[in-house]
Symmetry: C2
Subunit: 205 residues, 2 copies
C-alpha cells in the first residue's frame, strides 16, 4: 500500500500519545482485518467527539453535552453535585488529573483545572495561569482549603510553590498532596528524589 488513504490514516494515528509509526501501522492492519463497520463506527464516534463533550464552565474539566436537554447544563457533574463541599478545592493541571484524583473516591470537594503548568522552558510564565479566576472562586465559594494536586514533577512543583505564594494573602489553608514511595513499589527501584521525599515527609507511626 502506498496510497494516500493508508498513509494519511497512519500519520493521524501516529499523533495519538505513545503511538509511533509502527503501532499506527499495527492499528491500520487491525482495522483492515475487521469488518468495515468497526472503522466506520470509530470514525463516526471521533467526528462527533467535540460536539458531545466540552469544558465545564466552572472547573475546566470536560463535561458531556446533553443531547436531550433543551439547554445543556453549564457545569459538570462534580460542580453540580450537592453532596460535595464548596469549602474544599483541589487544584489540578489537566482534566485527566481530575479523573485520577477521583479514583480513591475520598475527595468530597470540588476541582479547579489550571489547564497548564509553569514551564520556563516552554515559555509558560505566571501570566498564563488563571490566578484571577482561582482567587475569585475562593472568595465566591468561601473556600477553606486548597489542595495543590499538581504533579510531583519540576513544572508541577514550581507551579505549586508559585500558587502557595500567590494565595498566601487570601488566608486560605493551602495543602500539597504527599509525595513518596508508591504503594506496592519496591524501594530498590525508587529513585533518589522519591526516596528523599519519602524520608522528608515521614510521619509518626
Amino acid at each position: 500500500m502506498r496510497g494516500k488513504g493508508a498513509k494519511r490514516l497512519t500519520a493521524l494515528l501516529a499523533r495519538l500519545p505513545g503511538v509511533g509509526e509502527k503501532t499506527a501501522q499495527r492499528y491500520l492492519y487491525h482495522l483492515l482485518a475487521q469488518p468495515s463497520a468497526y472503522a466506520v463506527e470509530l470514525g463516526d464516534a471521533l467526528r462527533a467527539l467535540h460536539a458531545q463533550i466540552r469544558p465545564c464552565l466552572r472547573c475546566g474539566n470536560y463535561t458531556d453535552v446533553d443531547e436531550n436537554a433543551a439547554e445543556s447544563a453549564p457545569v459538570c457533574d462534580i460542580c453540580s453535585d450537592p453532596r460535595r463541599s464548596d469549602k474544599l478545592l483541589c487544584v489540578v493541571a489537566r482534566p485527566t488529573d481530575v479523573l485520577a484524583m477521583e479514583r480513591p473516591g475520598s475527595l468530597r470537594g470540588r476541582y479547579f483545572v489550571l489547564g497548564k503548568l509553569l514551564s520556563p522552558l516552554d515559555g509558560v510564565g505566571p501570566e498564563a495561569l488563571p490566578i484571577g479566576i482561582l482567587r475569585a472562586r475562593i472568595e465566591e465559594d468561601g473556600v477553606e482549603e486548597i489542595i495543590l494536586a499538581t504533579p510531583p514533577s519540576v513544572d508541577g512543583e514550581a507551579t505549586a510553590l508559585f500558587l502557595r505564594r500567590e494565595l498566601a494573602a487570601t488566608g486560605v489553608l493551602v495543602t500539597r498532596i504527599a509525595s513518596g514511595v508508591p504503594h506496592g513499589g519496591d524501594l530498590e527501584f525508587a529513585d533518589a528524589i522519591t526516596l528523599g521525599r519519602a524520608l522528608d515527609h515521614r510521619q509518626k507511626f
Copy 2:
C-alpha cells in the same frame, strides 16, 4: 463524563490491538485536548479506510483502490512489479507479514497470503487453508521455490510442516525461513527453544 459519547468512543478505541481501557481513555483525553479538526480528520480517514483499500485479488495482501483510475488495478504493487520474479513465492500468514518480509529489501519474488494458520485449538483445520489456490498459482507461474515464512510459533510451524507435505508432490523446492537468536539479542534473554534452534541450524562460518 458519563455520557454515551465518551463511553462509546473509549470502548471502540479499546478494541485496537494492545489498547486497554486506560490507554483508550488516554487517547480520548488527548483527542479532547487537540483542536476538533484532528478528531474529525481521523474520523473521516477511518470512515474511508475500507473503501480505499481492498485485498489484492492475486496474493491476498492489501492494495490501494486508485480513485483516479476508471477501473482500479486488480492486483497490488508487488504482484504487478515487472522486476520481481514469478519463480520465487513467499508464503506468509497475514498481510502484515508481507510488510515485515519486505523490510530487508532483498526478496525479489512475490507473495502468497494464507490468511490464517492451522490452529486445532481455534478449530482451524487443513480445509481452511487455500491449498488449491496455492497449487494453481505454483503451476500457472512455474514457481521454482516456495519460501515458507509462517511465524516460528506452534501454529506457524504446524502450518509450515503441513504445507511442506502438501507441496511435496509438486516437485517445487520448499524452503523455510531460519529461526534463531535475533540480531542484537542477548543470549541470556533467549528462551530454550530459540537457543535450541540457533544450535540446530548453525552454519559453517
